[in-house]
Assembly symmetry: D2
Homo-oligomer: 350 residues x 4
């Protein structure tokens, strides 16, 4: 299309560009093709992080180099190879793996950025959100919504690792970052564990409660319950050809995503099942929770097993194939794109 | 706060960072202070473009160097001096000045990016949106929502200039750009001029019409009507100490902003009126429509007269002072920030 | 269908019914066919009130029998002939004609019930709503939303008559009526006339204003502007076969109806135009604003001329035919039915 | 207030009223005080139905007088003593007790009216909704939303009784009743039992699912889970002085009530707890699920034990007192009143 190429750069034009540059002016026609592309042209690349072989050893090594307290958050950023140095796993999202060793605390703070935790290994360390602790198990999906106080602690005998997903690049684009450290390392516990789920998580809500924020009042979506739902779905019907059995986590007070900036999903692929080619404009981070298989993205084949993490960039056709029954957790910026009228998907080779 | 400084970089740590870099891993604790700041730290700077003295001459010169057809859109980008080379006036928005000379056409295309036009000079050239033309006068606010066909033409005897505001950086962050050229330079006219206003613009809507998009079905908000509203407000009551008499343009089908990604505003400042210091997280582009005055942003004083354009970055305290009765048009990403729960404001020196 | 007939009433059963009646128990199977019908079975009948010949003389006579002050509201109720004594024009709505003579005041009060006024005759008497007066002209549509203070006054030389439409039966069903008299006959004027339209009526809203109620902040929709929109629509395109050129009045802060309980509509029928048969579940009150014609409802033909009022019951097939170019205003409970998921329509003889 | 009394009825006025009556006209001033009251004046009375002593015997007797098939629905209506013959328990709602004997079927049909079932006695009979069966236990709350196919069957060895709550008077006011019998007595089962809960009931929703209706996709809210939530709430905090521990059932796809016309609630009152006086405009039906106690409504004391049903009319001050730990289920038209801006409450003696 016409927009795909810039007009010729004659000497007169170049002289003009040089003349206006100090005036904070620039010719759009030189850049239009790069700014308004016929299809998404993301700098992100497909990538895979092998947890056991390649990531966990480094994480444990980091555990010996710095404490959670000194690091504030001892996290290894998963950097997209197309965005080196930029702390992004997709163009709009941050991902990292956080380690808390026995006896450690990641001190209380709060910030504008919304964060998700998806538990990778360990049993029973806690995250506290606005005065309530939740203990975490592999596969649990935990949120610390925008501007909520949160700290993490490990009072167990083993290391605890989870995937952090944050909307840091989104908040940066809008120049809207605020943060505050807590008064104490650990916030005071003001509600018993499980209170939020009891109050908000059973298709019931407190009679006079009205949401003050756009995030879910439920902050732990335990894997036990999620897995049960997947099992029932797989028993009750056929998988969708593009997604297998796929659910999205919701804020039960609105039916929207658990947080306004990040959508999260869980899907079961039956043993041997292969999805058809699919693409959408939300670059997506996947965690293999159970099973093994492979994901083809463009010409790349990413072979995964439990706890591996992979990323599929925006608009790249991809398909999953499960060797055994597999469960994939994923997250993306889809809720933002939907609110802004930007989200698109295409099924098959269309 | 603790987040504001990185832990010491010992040789062991540096060696570790070097070791993990090829694995697409990086230490968050080295970057946390830059990623999650206590307050917005925007690279944008306050800036002013003096239309008559500094911009218009270059625009006219551009008119002699390239045709609207060859340029596709003959636009001089207003680049924020803190973001040189990046085609951004704020971190999240694009602005430029577009010139169409008598007899020219800017050919039909459509794209994901939403665009606003605020008319600076000229009388009667048209923008066509999805088959309906609207002729433009200074002060008119015209939208070409996401994925609508649009072309511009000047069948008058004088040059036509307007300010373009687009959400290019937002669409780029989400890797969601799509674009298509039209089949012909000018799209066919399928509805008479004024049809949209008649159908949607009078606090009435067609009985069976349901919006298909998030943008306003009204695409020209004429200045004559807007000015009348401002005049009535100024006559009927006192100005707000922070804003004067300020209105936001709305989509009458929802009460939301005219487009989901860009909010637009118009405000009247009485002669001699000075607003109190105010700041908000949406970096804002202003156009002086009528009158003269100055805007203090941080330590900078920007003096403006009609048709000048200025930008106030996110979270910088600022105040306007009008020498004569003045009208300012402005736009920002506020509707996005509100949808995502990010928007904040502070009045006074708080 | 089975539900349409009750089971046989044997002596044993009758004895049982008699036995349980004092216990506040009753057999559903005796009533199910009447309670849950296969299609709407309304007690309402089609009816017409001829303004000049039949209603106006009585209204003027009422003007001599009681003052506006003594009556509080000097209104002749338009009672549906199928609902005599029940002050209903449809099953869910009240309609009446209100007369204010020169020099009279209908004193200030407020109540839960929402009211619309559609001006029938007279020029320049006012309605005041929450401190702002609006002067009224024939064809203007004025609202006094739930719990807003309102009074009416006629400082002109001629009688003023308007149609009142209220949701009295709806508020009664929900046992939710509250009312209060004002402290004075006329409320103090706190805002100049026209302030609401300037503030809310031009596809602009005050920047920090958030609606506190579900009703429109615009409370006069002047006929001049509405008529202009209709004229443009009629010039620009073909009429809808079922509705002619039909618009609904909207709350510009939400795109919803002007009041949550009553929907209002205006439609233009070209000279000689005949709509196709249509029905919907919202029984509808029409006012002929301009032109003459007839409306067939079931087997009844209602011939109307300007200022006549007619009612079409729920789900009765009907069609309009205009002798000359005609304009019909109408109102119904459609917004309530839509909110509750009850509204249905059928086009043609389906 | 002035609205509370009608003007004097002089002979001239009476003659006028008689003259206009045949013209379907009536004087509003004669009725205004009754139509627009200062506070709700409901015809409903407080009432109690003692299940074991007074209702169950009649229900079983009805079981011998008519079959579920012949009755279509073998239901004893709970008629408000202030609304005899009108099949209403409050002004806007219907309630009845439905009996299905072993081996019986209540045949499939669908209708506009929304229905709730609250299970009173029996174990394991089923309700089928749009192709999915759910087996019912005491305390379960089951919905059959508007226009969904539903049938009931009892394949157990004991009678099954539940409370039916329907919006029949609401649908009647709006003249919007539609109904259809099924083709067969029992609808075909198209989804396994539990599928809806798995798909929609765990703070997860199918990724591509969009609600087509305003009702909850979850149609059984089992008591086991609800009771667990109540137990946790009672353990974790103090009861609200007006409500004890009170939750509302929600549609997890929207956070709204499970059905658009009927709100449902469950509350736990600790042993010995007495609520403070409270009133609201939604007349409410209560079922005592566990425990015993009393409810004072105006001057009436209603003493209840498990399975008793009571009704509190609109705006009557009332208070509950629990002898033992008690659980009350309740339903009302509150969601409709909230949508229409009509709902009010008052705490204490205000």
């Amino acid at each position: 299309m016409a927009m795909e190429a810039a007009p010729a750069r004659t000497p007169e034009r170049q002289a003009f560009y040089d003349e206006i540059e100090p005036k904070n002016l620039a010719p759009l026609w030189e850049k239009l093709h790069a700014l308004v592309t016929a299809e998404p042209k993301t700098p992100c690349l497909p990538a895979l992080w092998r947890y056991d072989a390649e990531v966990r050893p480094y994480l444990m090594k980091a555990g010996g180099l710095i404490t959670a307290m000194e690091a504030q958050r001892r996290v290894l950023i998963l950097e997209n190879p197309g965005l080196k140095g930029q702390a992004q796993i997709t163009h709009s999202l941050f991902a990292g793996l956080q380690l808390i060793l026995p006896g450690e605390v990641a001190p209380a703070h709060r910030h504008t950025q919304s964060a998700l935790r998806f538990i990778i290994e360990g049993h029973g360390a806690y995250t506290a959100v606005d005065g309530e602790r939740t203990s975490m198990e592999p596969g649990d999906f935990v949120i610390t919504p925008s501007w909520t106080w949160h700290d993490h602690g490990n009072e167990t005998e083993e290391p605890m690792v989870w995937l952090d997903g944050l909307d840091i690049p989104i908040v940066r684009l809008f120049d809207a970052s605020f943060a505050e450290p807590g008064n104490a390392e650990m916030q005071a516990v003001s509600r018993p564990e499980g209170d939020s789920v009891a109050r908000y998580g059973n298709n019931l809500l407190p009679v006079d409660w009205r949401p003050e924020a756009k995030s879910s009042p439920v902050f732990n979506y335990p894997y036990a319950r999620t897995r049960e739902a997947l099992t029932a779905l797989a028993r009750n019907g056929d998988p969708d050809p593009y997604h297998g059995h796929k659910l999205r986590y919701v804020n039960p007070a609105s039916g929207e995503a658990a947080m306004p900036t990040i959508g999260t999903f869980i899907q079961l692929l039956p043993a041997g099942f292969e999805t058809r080619s699919y693409r959408s404009t939300d670059g997506t981070v996947y965690v293999a929770v159970e099973g093994s298989g492979e994901t083809r993205v463009g010409g790349t084949v990413l072979r995964w097993r439990p706890r591996d993490i992979l990323v599929v960039p925006s608009w790249m056709p991809h398909a999953h194939k499960a060797d055994t029954e597999a469960v994939l957790f994923s997250f993306s910026d889809r809720p933002v794109q939907e609110k802004l009228g930007l989200w698109r998907e295409a099924r098959g080779n269309a």
